[in-house]
């Protein structure tokens, strides 16, 4: 997965710059929030890769790690990542709702 | 009444007629019948009144008048313009060129005389 990261930054930059000059000021804060959510969604798999490559450090002979510890760690990450992803997606969905015109002014 | 009148006109019969009319009343009349050197002649003779035809061989009367008006010496010279073309635009052109009076041929002798009298400085 790591090789895929960073490939589409230009595309998303254009998305941002293309959008920012058209979107009115009053949604600036919302848009800003939304973009940070996207940033978080992008960062999440990178975090996942790092966390799941961490067990390699325990595998060296000097440090002996018990299998149960390893399993609990891997599964804890496995539970945590989807939960965070779900929260992010939920937040995105909520913010993606079109703002009502009368609320804006 | 001993003013000098210069007549610039190409038709000899008309020159003769004007000369006769004015001389009879005591004016000194000089004549010239070419447009080309008309300005020089005017400067040389420095008349009190100039009678100028429009259709002159060599140079148009309007043109001559314009040059005279551009020169300080002849700026205020009274000029009576004669033309055989009786259209209003000819009158306009004469006025624009700086004519003091404008007269359409054929004129009456009394008219010419009266105009010269009126134009001549007292």
């Amino acid at each position: 997965m790591s090789q895929q990261a960073g490939n589409d930054i230009p595309e998303d930059l254009t998305e941002k710059t293309g959008g920012s000059d058209k979107i009115p000021l009053f949604v600036e804060r919302q848009t800003y929030r939304r973009r940070r959510l996207v940033d978080a969604a992008r960062a999440l798999p990178v975090l996942g890769i790092l966390l799941w490559l961490l067990p390699l450090l325990w595998a060296v002979p000097e440090t002996s790690t018990r299998a149960s510890t390893g399993l609990i760690y891997v599964f804890a990450v496995w539970l945590g990542l989807p939960v965070i992803a779900g929260v992010l997606i939920h937040a995105m969905n909520r913010r993606a709702q079109p703002p009502h015109p009368e609320d804006e002014t | 009444m001993a003013g000098h009148v210069l007549v610039i006109e190409d038709e000899p019969n008309i020159i003769e007629a004007i000369k006769f009319i004015l001389s009879r009343e005591g004016w000194n009349v000089a004549t010239h019948s070419n447009g080309e050197d008309a300005v020089d002649v005017v400067r040389a003779k420095s008349p009190d009144v100039l009678i100028l035809d429009v259709m002159l061989p060599g140079r148009s009367g309007y043109d001559i008048l314009r040059e005279l008006r551009g020169d300080a010496a002849t700026e205020n010279l009274p000029v009576l313009m004669l033309t055989a073309r009786g259209q209003s635009k000819d009158r306009e052109m004469a006025e624009r060129a700086g004519a003091s009076r404008f007269m359409t041929k054929p004129f009456s002798n009394a008219e010419v005389l009266e105009a010269v009298r009126a134009l001549a400085p007292v």
Binding site: M1, Q4, N7, D8, E11, D12, E15, G19, V27, A41, R42, L44, P45, V46, G48, I49, W52, L53, P55, L56, A59, S64, T65, A67, S68, T69, G70, L71, V74, W78, L79, P82, V83, A85, G86, I89, M92, N93, A96, P98, P99, P101, E104 | D10, N13, E16, A17, I21, R24, N34, A84, R85, G86, Q87, T104, K105, P106, F107, S108, N109
Partner: protein, 892 residues
């Protein structure tokens, strides 16, 4: 022990149940009540075909044999889904917008609809999937045997696999090729898979729960038991851990069956948004009890038991027949769902990229019959399904179901992962070309075959044993498991690293070096720049930003005023207080129509689609744009022709107008001229007549002189009026010629006499050659002599030589020329053109004429059928009168 017949009955009942689920889902979908079928949860569950029987049975086996490495196979896909924003989002959108039917179609379509690439990916997929299908058949067979205790490799084993294959083929044909849907979605199949997903998760978790709480006695006890087992130490091979994680992630994206459920069956972004977090959890749950089951299995079962079957044998060991049966159904579900989807995916690819192109080439003239083609497509799909399953069965029966199959999973993963560079490059890099994709795939495929796939059959099976000792033909650096002399790496890792890196390098370098075709570039742009809007793409409910985009676009096309008026009108109609109407379908339709008036329907549709999303530009749209452009060009060519004609007409009108204006100016000038010519003599007449009238002081000489001036001027006036009338009559063509015969010399004599009648003192000598003048003319001699008189008079009046001479030269050729040449200075060059015009008096001298003489002469000569012209370069003024001789000839 469960009776085999009962097992068969339960299996058949279960299959019937699945048939029912698929059937009802399909029917609901056809009746348009398929909303729940598109629920994100169904989509998420359908992704579970990633977990095949290889997972269900094999994960425990893998854990028992290799420890925790099995986790990586599920960690990779989890990362892909958690990182959905990076790749899957784009991939899924491209799939929807471009109506992609398979991964081969994706690659083919991206690289300019190259069928060669389609065929290549299809072959790769078939080669990679067939053993996998065999593996599923084997797992079902093995699981049946657990209940039956049959001898492995016996007749029954083969027949089980056979009947399972047949059953799956029937199911797949029925639900996989029910219709030729444009978007290739199979609601029935997806629904059945979702149900199977639940069954297999429930079965595995049930076994797991039984193992943890039923056997081990709780979580902490289980953890203790794990630590105490031979798996007790956390040991992983770092290279394999990272490598397999990457490989499984790659395979998750590239496996034909995964592509089918993830991209082809995808309906909206919401599905993906749920799967992004829910499917990793599903995978986590599937993996959760693997180690406990393995540990318990290793613990309680006799040594030498097949760890691949612990999921079945552990419950059976404890007499839990029902649990074992559930577990069996779970395994069965895993196997069948994978085979069904794989068969659909492969059959689509085989049919679209291999069978149909061949059929179309063989029946070129039949393509126009649409119904026929549809039928053929369905038939080819069905045959392909049967073919794929037959291949799987054959592979299974030929390989003998041995250990070779258990490693095939990762081998197949590596094979299909070869598509990854072309796929990711295709959706993220516009510079990727068809040649690059072909090069990458070919290199990757060859390296994979040589380093992993063929060696997987064992040394000596296909690749000679000597290759594994000294390299092929003694070339050490080509050793299949130690390319370029780099040895000591795990063979799988070795193959993954070399095949994918060489693949990527070849893809990149060939892409850089080659030049894409226009269609490739078009498709590349379409894929890479797939619109990045948010929300469900088929709904029209979008934010204000989109309405603004529409506004910006409309202003560009309609002009600011019109666009704003349109938007305001629509906003008012919708009852909105703002200036921007909501982009409802009605409004979009109106807008599209407005835009179509300016840019054509297809373009308008495409433009609105670009902004609204959902319906992006398809190739058909672009074709339509091209068509419309062609039509517009044709239309504008017509317009151009018309406007050329218009401008020609306008030019003619302008010319006519110019002529009229010129005539008007001429008329004014003419009148002014006449006025002048009349007033001048009248001035003299009036002045002198007044002098005479007044009478006083005039000498008798003067009196007589003035009277004669009056007389002369009166004559001049009369002559002028005569000339004018003469000219008018001549110009109007009202003159009647008085034709008669006469000698030229007589006419000249008369003219000379008339012209010189009053020439008392001026003295003009005329030179003539009488011998040449003996020419008879049939003409109006009066008029002709008038011309001659005028020319002679002109010489008399205007010749400025001291000793004036006029030579009259007569030349007879085709026509008769009479030249009048004097010895004066002639007419200036610039005046030569105008002397024949009315009142064109060029001389300064007072000549008494009105300037009408030459104009009248020209009119007369023209009437007489001749011409008069000025002869330049004769020394003096020279005029030539040319007369036609046909009239002269008659007289000779």
């Amino acid at each position: 022990m469960t009776n085999l017949n009962a097992l068969a009955a339960i299996s058949i009942l279960y299959v019937l149940f699945l048939f029912g689920v698929a059937f009802f889902a399909e029917r609901a979908s056809r009746r348009g009540r398929a909303k729940w079928l598109r629920a994100p949860i169904i989509y998420t569950l359908s992704l579970s075909i990633y977990c095949t029987a290889w997972t269900f049975y094999g994960a425990v086996g893998s854990a028992a044999r290799n420890g925790f490495e099995y986790l990586t196979i599920y960690l990779g896909p989890s990362l892909v889904l958690i990182g959905w924003w990076w790749v899957l989002r784009k991939l899924v959108r491209i799939g929807r917008v471009q109506r992609i039917t398979s991964i081969a179609d994706l690659i083919s379509s991206r690289y300019g609809k190259s069928n060669l690439l389609g065929v290549g990916v299809t072959l790769l997929a078939v080669i990679g999937t067939t053993p996998y299908i065999a593996l599923q058949l084997q797992s079902v067979t093995l699981s049946v045997e657990v209940f039956h205790h049959a001898t492995p490799g016996g007749v029954e084993e083969q027949s089980t696999a056979f009947w399972v294959a047949v059953g799956l083929a029937v199911f797949t044909v029925i639900f996989g090729t029910r219709n030729l849907d444009a978007n290739e979605r199979h609601h029935g199949v997806v629904m059945a898979i979702a149900v199977e997903a639940i069954v297999k998760l429930a079965a595995l978790m049930a076994v797991g729960i039984f193992v943890v709480w039923g056997i081990s006695g709780g979580v902490s006890e289980t953890l203790a038991r794990i630590d105490a087992s031979e798996l007790g130490q956390w040991e992983v091979n770092g290279g394999r851990w990272a490598g397999l994680m990457f490989l499984s992630a790659a395979a998750f994206l590239c496996l034909p069956r995964m592509f089918q459920v993830m991209v082809v069956e995808n309906d909206n972004d919401q599905q993906l948004r749920m799967a992004a977090w829910a499917f990793p959890l599903y995978l986590m749950l599937m993996s959760l009890f693997i180690v406990p089951i393995a540990v318990v299995g290793l613990d309680v079962l006799p040594a030498g038991s097949n760890p691949d079957l612990f999921v079945l044998t552990v419950p059976l060991e404890y007499g839990q027949n029902a649990l074992a049966l559930l577990s069996f159904l779970g395994g069965f579900s895993s196997a069948t769902s994978m085979v069904i989807v794989a068969a659909i995916a492969l059959s689509t690819m085989v049919s679209n990229h291999i069978v149909m192109p061949i059929w179309l080439r063989l029946n070129e003239n039949m393509v126009s019959v649409s119904g026929d083609v549809r039928h053929v497509v369905l038939l080819s799909r069905r045959l392909s399904i049967a073919g794929v399953l037959s291949l799987g069965y054959l592979y299974y029966s030929q390989s003998g179901g041995g250990a070779a199959l258990s490693v095939i999973g990762l081998v197949a993963f590596t094979g299909v992962a070869q598509v990854l560079p072309a796929m990711l490059g295709g959706i993220f890099w516009r510079g990727a070309t068809r040649i690059g994709a072909l090069a990458g795939l070919t290199v990757g495929f060859v390296v994979w075959l040589y380093t992993l796939y063929l060696p997987s059959f064992g040394p000596g099976a296909i690749i000679p044993k000597s290759f594994f000792e000294n390299g092929p033909f003694g070339i050490g650096w080509l050793h299949p498991e130690a390319l370029f002399g780099i040895s000591g790496i795990d063979p799988l890792l070795h193959a993954v690293i070399w095949s994918l890196s060489l693949n990527t390098v070849a893809f990149f370098v060939a892409s850089l070096a080659s030049f894409p075709s226009p269609l490739e570039r078009l498709q590349g742009a379409q894929f890479v720049n797939i619109q990045q809007g948010t929300g469900g793409t088929r709904s029209w409910s979008h934010g204000a930003a989109e309405a603004e985009d529409l506004m910006v676009m409309a202003q560009r096309i309609l002009g600011a005023t019109d666009a704003q008026a349109l938007f305001l009108r629509e906003a008012r109609r919708q009852g909105s207080e703002t200036h921007l109407p909501a982009p409802t379908p009605e409004f979009l339709q109106i807008l599209e129509r407005e835009l179509a008036g300016s840019v054509g329907a297809a373009t308008a549709h495409a433009m609105v689609g670009q902004i609204v999303g959902g319906m992006s530009v398809s190739v058909e749209d672009l074709m339509a744009v091209a068509d419309e452009t062609a039509q517009m060009m044709e239309y504008s060519a017509t317009l151009e022709a018309q406007s050329q004609e218009l401008s020609r007409t306008a030019a003619q009108l302008r010319a006519a107008n110019d002529k009229l204006t010129r005539l008007s100016v001429q008329k004014d000038a003419f009148l002014s001229q006449i006025s002048h010519e009349l007033r001048t003599p009248m001035t003299s007449i009036r002045a002198f007549s007044e002098i005479l009238r007044d009478g006083d002081g005039i000498t008798p000489e003067e009196q007589s002189k003035y009277a004669s001036i009056i007389h002369d001027e009166a004559i001049r006036l009369t002559r002028l009026l005569d000339d004018l009338l003469d000219l008018s009559v001549l110009e109007n063509g009202q003159v009647s010629l008085n034709l008669g015969d006469g000698l030229l010399c007589d006419v000249l004599d008369r003219a000379e006499a008339a012209a010189l009648a009053y020439d008392d003192k001026r003295g003009l000598e005329i030179i003539r050659d009488a011998s040449k003048e003996q020419v008879w003319l049939n003409t109006d001699t009066e008029r002709l002599s008038q011309v001659f008189i005028n020319l002679i008079s002109n010489a008399r009046k205007y010749c400025d030589a001291p000793q004036r001479v006029l030579e009259i030269r007569v030349t007879k050729g085709e026509t008769l020329s009479v030249d009048f040449i004097d010895n004066g200075s002639g007419v200036a060059t610039e005046a030569q053109d105008v002397i024949f015009e009315k009142f064109a008096r060029v001389s300064d001298q007072k000549a008494g004429g009105a300037g009408l003489g030459l104009a009248i002469s020209r009119q007369i000569v023209t009437r007489l059928g001749g011409a008069i012209s000025y002869l330049p370069g004769e020394g003096g003024a020279a005029f030539r009168v040319v007369l036609p001789l046909d009239r002269a000839l008659a007289a000779q």
